[in-house]
């Protein structure tokens, strides 16, 4: 298990929780995950759960950024089975820069889908939409069934009508190149 948390104060929280529970199979990395390798500005709003690289606020700090592709190449991971992606409005950037991992591992993604601020990422949403074509898409819902299968066009249709919509998605690769 690898957890990414860039801000110093937030980084200490999972680190302390993991050590105080005696867990030895979780590594916490103090880096931003995005489409960029190098230093990147992280905006720090008052709510520590909303630190973001795209949602601007008065306070900010510079943090090291890495792509999932690069991290996997630099480490010994043969398989990546699941990624939870809660990058506070930069989720598309994380997904777009995982082409190598997806090709090699075909892992499932659980991600927050809140397109309210995505245009600020200055990326063509079509690129992200094309990435989503590789997955079977499920909306996570609060019901005994937990997930509901939806089409890509349905997903973008509902967000087109109501851009403040926020839901969690489960993305399962349509073609798994490796199976475990």
């Amino acid at each position: 298990m690898v957890a990414f948390e860039p801000d110093q104060r937030n980084f200490l929280l999972p680190s302390r929780n993991i050590s105080s529970n005696g867990i030895d199979n979780v590594t916490v990395i103090q880096k931003i995950v995005s489409d960029y390798e190098g230093m990147k500005q992280l905006y720090l709003p008052s709510h520590s759960g909303e630190h973001s690289i795209v949602r601007k606020s008065e306070r900010s700090t510079c943090c090291a950024s890495i792509t999932i592709d690069r991290y996997v190449l630099e480490t010994d991971f043969i398989y990546v089975d699941l990624m939870r992606n809660d990058a506070e409005d930069s989720e598309p950037l994380v997904v777009e820069e995982t082409s190598h991992v997806i090709a090699e591992c075909s892992y499932a993604i659980v991600m927050e889908f809140q397109p309210r601020l995505w245009p600020e990422t200055e990326r063509d949403l079509l690129i992200f939409r094309n990435e989503l074509e590789k997955y079977t898409i499920y909306i996570i819902i609060n019901s005994p069934f937990l997930i509901k299968k939806v089409t890509l066009s349905y997903l973008f249709a509902i967000t087109g009508r109501n851009r403040s919509v926020m839901t969690n998605l489960l993305l399962v690769p349509k073609q798994r190149t490796r199976f475990r």
Partner: protein
């Protein structure tokens, strides 16, 4: 700020009501509050409801000569009340080590010999539970987050995003590699670490 009625109630019930006011204003840290009936407790700002001691909701329960159990005792406001009203034996369980220490300090202020406090949780079967710690920013987050997010859920002792957690748990099996981007307090990382 308290209303005049609340101040009058506080004044009547406690011997040192001014310490409560000082604590609420941030001028005193963890003062000992002494109640008229002999009960004393530490005042923990943010974790303590003085109203609990003023209203004494457990007084309505007839505990005289009976045994009582308090599961998730927190800072233990219940045991002294019950002991005061004649409960035979009182067993209290608090799993959180910080709250356990708070409860222990409160019990040590009062000379009850029939209260047994355990630093253990109570559940449906014997197992080790994981505790989440978000102390550095929990009060701050609650004040600024509109009471949402993982901090608020933990403060209310709720499961954060239960559906998403369940979906992720069903996807992950033992030995799998998972990435948690935007881990925050590590809610998902901790839950997945022992799968």
């Amino acid at each position: 700020m308290r209303s005049l009625k609340e101040f009058i109630r506080l004044f009547k019930a406690t011997n040192n009501w001014y310490d409560v006011v000082f604590a609420e204003l941030g001028l005193r840290k963890h003062p000992i509050i002494c109640f008229g009936d002999g009960l004393s407790v530490y005042y923990y700002d943010g974790a303590f409801s003085i109203e609990h001691f003023l209203e004494r909701p457990y007084d309505r329960v007839n505990s005289r000569g009976r045994d009582a159990i308090d599961i998730h005792a927190y800072y233990e406001d219940m045991a002294p009340n019950f002991a005061l009203w004649g409960a035979r034996t009182f067993y209290a369980f608090e799993h959180n080590p910080i709250c356990y220490q708070m409860a222990l300090r409160n019990l040590s202020l009062n000379s009850f010999r029939n209260i047994y406090l355990f630093n253990e949780g109570v559940g449906s079967h014997n197992h080790i539970i994981k505790l989440m710690d978000s102390r550095p920013s929990i009060d701050f987050a609650l004040k600024n987050s509109g009471e949402n997010g993982v901090f608020a859920a933990l403060a209310k002792r709720e499961v954060y995003e239960p559906s998403t957690l369940e979906v992720i748990k069903r996807q992950v099996r033992k030995g799998m590699t998972t990435f948690d981007v935007g881990a925050n307090v590590g809610w998902y990382s901790l839950h997945l670490s022992d799968l």
